[in-house]
Amino acid sequence: MPDALVVRNLAKRYGSVQALKGVDLEVGEGELVGLLGPNGAGKSTLVKIAVGLVRPTAGEATVAGARAGSRAARAELGYLAEMFRFPGWYTADEVLELHQRLSGSRGGAAERKRLLELVAHADASDRRVDGMSKGMQQRLGVAQSLVGEPRLLMLDEPTSALDPVGRRTVRLLLEELRGRGVSVLLNSHLLSEVELVCDRVAILLGGELVAVGSPHDLSRPRGVELETDEGIHRVDGATREDAPRLVAEAVAAGRQVYGVSVLTSTLEDVYLEAVGGETS
């Protein structure tokens, strides 16, 4: 079975701006990949090319083996745009019904009810969109992207308008989807969220991929910290393997050791190092 998403040497130019400069990326079956990068790095352009909203200048993208933008490709994916709106006069149920009909889903009312429950929105079935908060609309947007049980989910900033509870709901949902074998490309600025749920992370900068790997692989040892009767003592450059020796040395030197911590860089450290502090 082909990968859910394959991007090869993908380039996009908007006038004089080179938004993507030959990007290679894969999202495997059931894999949850986080796409990170500062504003203007090309994240949304990559997602839009994969969805078929934007035409690449060079390179190719395929969804489940089908050319991105083709009907076959779009039939395999669910998409939540960064800037989206639903008609204000539709109820939540009507929005989902419209997308069921457009995607050819035969899930009916049961699917709509299940999707609204998944995003903790079950009580809003009959509520009109123009009466919803931005966060409620975003939950509905996530539910809409799941209509028709897509094989690949493309989420562009799905939690930007959500409160902490809403973010947790989406995070749990993503974990559940991964359990069901759904592939996800998650474009987000929330590094902690990405670090918690993603199998792999891709960092874009200036239209180029500057780092790809699992959060664990990308992180690096930053030393070992010992808490002794003399206070906290940090040994830079030490690794997990050095911890027993360091503890033994401290005890031999007559110190009371109360705790030991192996320090590694967080995704935020990795990200800031990769983008060099660039914000736009």
């Binding site: 078929g52 909203l53 035409r55 989206f84 006069w89 457009l102």
Partner: protein, 285 residues
């Protein structure tokens, strides 16, 4: 094919929920009431009306044709207003508001979406134009006991003219923002009306150059030619001469008419539609 009807229904509900129909119905009722008033007083004072000496028709026909011509002009105008507001933001406007992307991401195809929006707006506007046209005819017929020579065909041509405007508006929506597209289409509509007046002036002055310019404009903007052709047919048997229509002032002047312009209008819609489809297919959203 079912996707087409889903989008047609989507567009129809959009029109209903945005209260476009409510506004249009209120305005239309107001127009029809005023039109009835005009008919009432014109036919009540028919004895005081004298057709120009070179128009060889009775007073009732002269007044009836003039009033139906007025009704057709208003019907075309109202139909165009409805058509433009239904379609001016179909692509760029909806994309800017974020309404379009969730739809285009679905496996329906951009061409299906655009064709469906044309069919949706076209069916709504056709129904509207025919309703108002026949309501106008009924008012004149029942009030003044005068009926045009051709009853149905002028209405069909009016609806055809509005379909041409819808095609232009959809094309404009692909490349222009909603506001710019609305302005552009209304200016084209105005240009078409000016072209019709130009033809009347050209005939009055017997200027070949002005008549030629008017004819070129009619072919370039065939909704105007269809409207004029419809006007010509309301008194087709009574006079059979464009000379009579010249006396109808700004509402007359079928200098380009017949099957040539009707077929060209169909080809024109197809060409404009094809350009819109190609442009939409290439457009980044």
């Amino acid at each position: 094919m079912s996707s087409v009807w889903v989008i047609v229904g989507y567009g129809f509900r959009e029109a209903v929920r945005r209260k476009m129909f409510a506004v249009v119905i209120v305005l239309t009722v107001a127009f029809l009431f005023l039109f009835w008033l005009a008919n009432h007083y014109v036919f009540k004072d028919l004895s005081t009306i004298t057709p120009p000496r070179d128009v060889n028709v009775d007073t009732r026909t002269f007044a009836g044709a003039f009033l139906v011509g007025l009704s057709m002009f208003a019907t075309l105008f109202l139909g165009v207003v409805l058509a433009v507001f239904l379609t001016l933001g179909t692509v760029t406007g909806d994309a800017e508001r974020g309404l379009l992307q969730p739809l285009v991401a679905r496996p329906i195809g951009r061409s299906t979406l655009l064709v469906a929006r044309f069919l949706g707006a076209g069916s709504v506007c056709t129904a509207y134009v025919l309703t108002v046209y026949f309501a106008g005819l009924l008012i004149t017929g029942l009030t003044g006991h005068w009926w045009p020579d051709q009853v149905a065909w002028p209405g069909v041509e009016l609806a055809g003219g509005v379909l041409v405007v819808i095609a232009l508006s959809l094309l404009g929506s692909v490349v222009l923002s909603s506001t710019a597209n609305g302005i552009a289409i209304f200016m084209l509509f105005g240009a078409g009306l000016v072209a019709g007046l130009l033809g009347s002036i050209g005939h009055a002055l017997n200027s070949h150059t002005i008549k030629h310019a008017s004819a070129v404009a009619s072919w370039a903007l065939p909704f105007e030619a269809l409207y004029q052709d419809g006007l010509r047919m309301i008194t087709e048997h009574a006079s059979g001469l464009t000379g009579f229509l010249l006396q109808l002032g700004p509402f007359g002047g079928a200098y380009v008419h017949g099957w040539g312009i009707r077929l060209w209008a169909v080809v024109y819609v197809l060409i404009v539609g094809a350009i819109a489809l190609v442009s939409f297919a290439r457009r980044d959203l």
